[in-house]
Symmetry: C2
Subunit: 453 residues, 2 copies
């Protein structure tokens, strides 16, 4: 029963497909034919399959699994499924070392400021802790986001920001508004792995364009736009995930020119802006929210538990996104989250925390690069900020094999191919330097490389 | 410019549609033709429209608004848009009276227990307040949900529950997994208004079936299944929203028989279960999560700010839903929320709070029914629990007109048609008795009814 359920769940058996004959499955699974007969009978009773007299058993509509997420075509080995890192990192046992994860360790986060913010919420009106939030999120935090965007030279009026549950939820909202099944979306190669799973969930087609140390390869970008007439370009244009590269103003300008000559839009996920040593030139800086939809959050530098993200876009899109958020979430983000975050942001301590964080990351980045260098693993570039180092493996070493060897030893790594829609990054790996402070990942890497060499 | 943007936003002008001629729009808006020329020029510069020499201006693809939410066909007057109540209730000024909203007032909520729970979280490991939650939600709260479902006679194994951000998000996840554009979904008439907006967001077609005091009209349900081959039946089968009716075991049994003979599934949103004086017979009770997907939350009786919902379904669907949640949300619900809620649930105080809440609602329900009766507004039935009274208006009174008259006087009401996919409930209104404790709504109703009479 589990075998057939698995085949249906994975989409290998679709509604109206015929099941293997009883004899064949019995041989295949090394069980007796009567076991298969009983399994088929029970699955029929459940309604998942149905006998057709004289022609065998068939999958019913109830066995349909229309989730776009499971239709991985061409099928990929589980080791390069973009979910791999997310699953391993989110569901790791306590004590696991996670240089593959995308966030800072708890003891790097501004816990004292956050807890003070939460205690502050507990002292205020009880409606904050019990009631739904306003549909666009708290006015106070929205004002704060507006000011911050204006500091990044993005002009906007007061009806251009919507608060959402997180940057991921904001991205999902934007995709729901803008995409239809079959739409093409340009993504960077490599890119944040969840962009791929998100697009798959929207039944959109990811069109990879190589990313360079200055931004996307402009010739390849232009060719892809001409060839595919994409609906969107989805990117992190501040500190790029996973490479840590920074978009140059020249590339940004050329790219927006190509975008303006087509009918496409840009969704720019700028969640690493608080890791920037100075405000970056992003696509929204040049475009001013006409063709660019800007997304951000506070999950990376304040809390990934009390999460809030935001979308900045033209007022009409914000109105539509607000309705959409009510439909799929009812109300804006938790007021406990928005108030606590606003409390952290408006404290003088947050600025100091960021300065300290930048210094600490600079130190760890250099130290990690040196120690990885001793193992023959070299950063492709030195980012100007943020937690990531995108590194080239020693010749002939598969980062996927390395990550699989490290996992049973309690170390979660992020092999290059989870970030590469074209699966061309098996010779690369992303390291989160904030998780490289202890000796364990280096020991595990050293041992695994020796075995492979 | 605002006028044209509005037409495009509302879908009245689609890509490749020709804009009104300059002369015609100038007359229509009582402005000079040169004003229209300038507006069209600016909109062209923005890329929203484009001139075609000799044939006028046309909407470009950039003006496309594919959000299913805005394609209201046939167009509805704003007053009966299912979003109406949600918007008014979520974004009301402080001090507004909200008998139209779906939740309890802050001073009815178990604030002391909740705040104790939050303080408890602040004393625990900092990872709870800073880190992402596990992909299926905290193990502790999942165990709690499993136990509760077993107490409701629903048998399940330990991989059949997924925690989500809220019941609304859980519903959205289930719809994403199960629905494709154009799928038909049976809903109750009347039903929770957000079911309609949610289905519209999924481009699914709501098929209304009349709801009776014992559940859906079985003959109409059977006919709709035969006629429409629906993919789903979406319902609150515990205390029904908005009517407060309770599904009878006989109707539940007949309904599941019809479901079993078709290829459809049931999504059962049971968010009012903690308002039940005793566990109700629901569809999942009889079906045991084979064709039923059960959804619930704690937002109504613990907190709508620290929200957590859950889905119980067969293990394979839970696996797919977990991946989907990672794609669109990254990680499970906030650990601050799950830990605080678990803390409330496991305190002896919660049981006492519920007993007190039931008594208080019983008292308010009777008092509200009496006072509404004096105005000629009569409950269609007396629910066995919960905050709602579904009432018939005096003859000839439109509940929509009444709600619109009450709004400027600071009272948000819930006119019947927002709940009715067939728009056949203008003679009904839903009252939330927990918001009827002060005299204001009654005064406003009395005055408005006099003006209308």
């Amino acid at each position: 029963m589990a075998d057939i359920r698995g085949r249906i769940g994975a989409g290998r058996l679709a509604p109206n497909d015929r099941l293997p004959s009883i004899r064949r499955l019995a041989v295949e699974l090394s069980v007796s034919p009567s076991t298969v007969v009983e399994a088929y009978d029970r699955l029929s009773a459940e309604g998942l399959i149905r006998p057709r007299p004289g022609s065998g058993f068939f999958v019913t509509e109830a066995g349909r699994t229309p989730a776009p997420l499971v239709r991985l075509d061409p099928p990929r080995a589980p080791e390069v499924d973009p979910f791999w890192v997310a699953r391993q990192a989110l569901d790791a046992d306590p004590g696991t070392s996670k240089p593959g994860c995308g966030w800072l360790p708890p003891d790097w986060m501004p816990t004292a400021l956050l807890h003070a913010g939460m205690r502050n919420v507990l002292r205020q009106a009880t409606s904050l802790t019990t009631d739904y939030g306003p549909s666009r999120g708290s006015a106070g935090l929205r004002r704060f986001v507006e000011t911050r965007l204006r500091q990044q030279s993005i002009t906007l009026s007061e009806d251009q920001v919507l608060l959402a549950g997180s940057a991921t939820q904001a991205l999902d909202l934007a995709c729901r508004l803008l995409l239809r099944p079959g739409d093409r979306v340009i993504v960077d190669d490599p890119c944040y792995f969840n962009f791929q799973t998100l697009l798959r969930a929207h039944q959109a087609i990811a069109i990879p364009v190589p990313y360079t140390e200055n931004g996307p390869d402009i010739a390849a970008f232009e060719a892809a736009v001409a060839r595919e007439t994409p609906r969107l370009y989805l990117t992190n244009s501040g500190l790029h995930n996973p490479t840590g590269a920074t978009l140059s103003p020249q590339v940004a300008f050329q790219l927006l020119g190509i975008v303006a000559r087509s009918d496409m839009l840009v969704v720019e996920d700028d969640i690493f802006s608080d890791f920037e040593p100075e405000p970056a030139i992003t696509l929204a800086t040049l475009d001013g929210l006409s063709r660019v939809i800007r997304i951000g959050s506070f999950s990376k530098t304040i809390s990934a538990s009390l999460r809030t993200g935001f979308i900045a876009a033209d007022p009409e899109r914000i109105r539509l996104l607000t309705d959409l958020q009510v439909a799929i979430q009812f109300g804006g983000p938790s007021q406990v989250a928005t108030e606590a975050i606003q409390s952290v942001l408006s404290s003088g301590g947050y600025r100091k925390y960021l300065e300290q964080l930048h210094r600490r990351l600079d130190t760890e980045r250099r130290a990690t690069a040196t120690r990885l260098g001793d193992l023959g693993i070299h950063p492709v570039l030195m980012p100007r900020g943020g937690p990531y180092l995108w590194c080239r493996m020693p010749d002939g070493v598969s980062s996927t094999a390395l990550a699989q060897a490290a996992l049973p030893q309690g170390v979660v790594l992020a092999p290059g191919n989870v970030f590469s829609p074209s699966l061309s990054a098996d010779g690369f790996m992303r390291f989160n330097v904030s998780h490289m402070g202890d000796i364990r990942p280096f020991r595990v890497l050293e041992r695994a490389l020796k075995t492979m060499g």
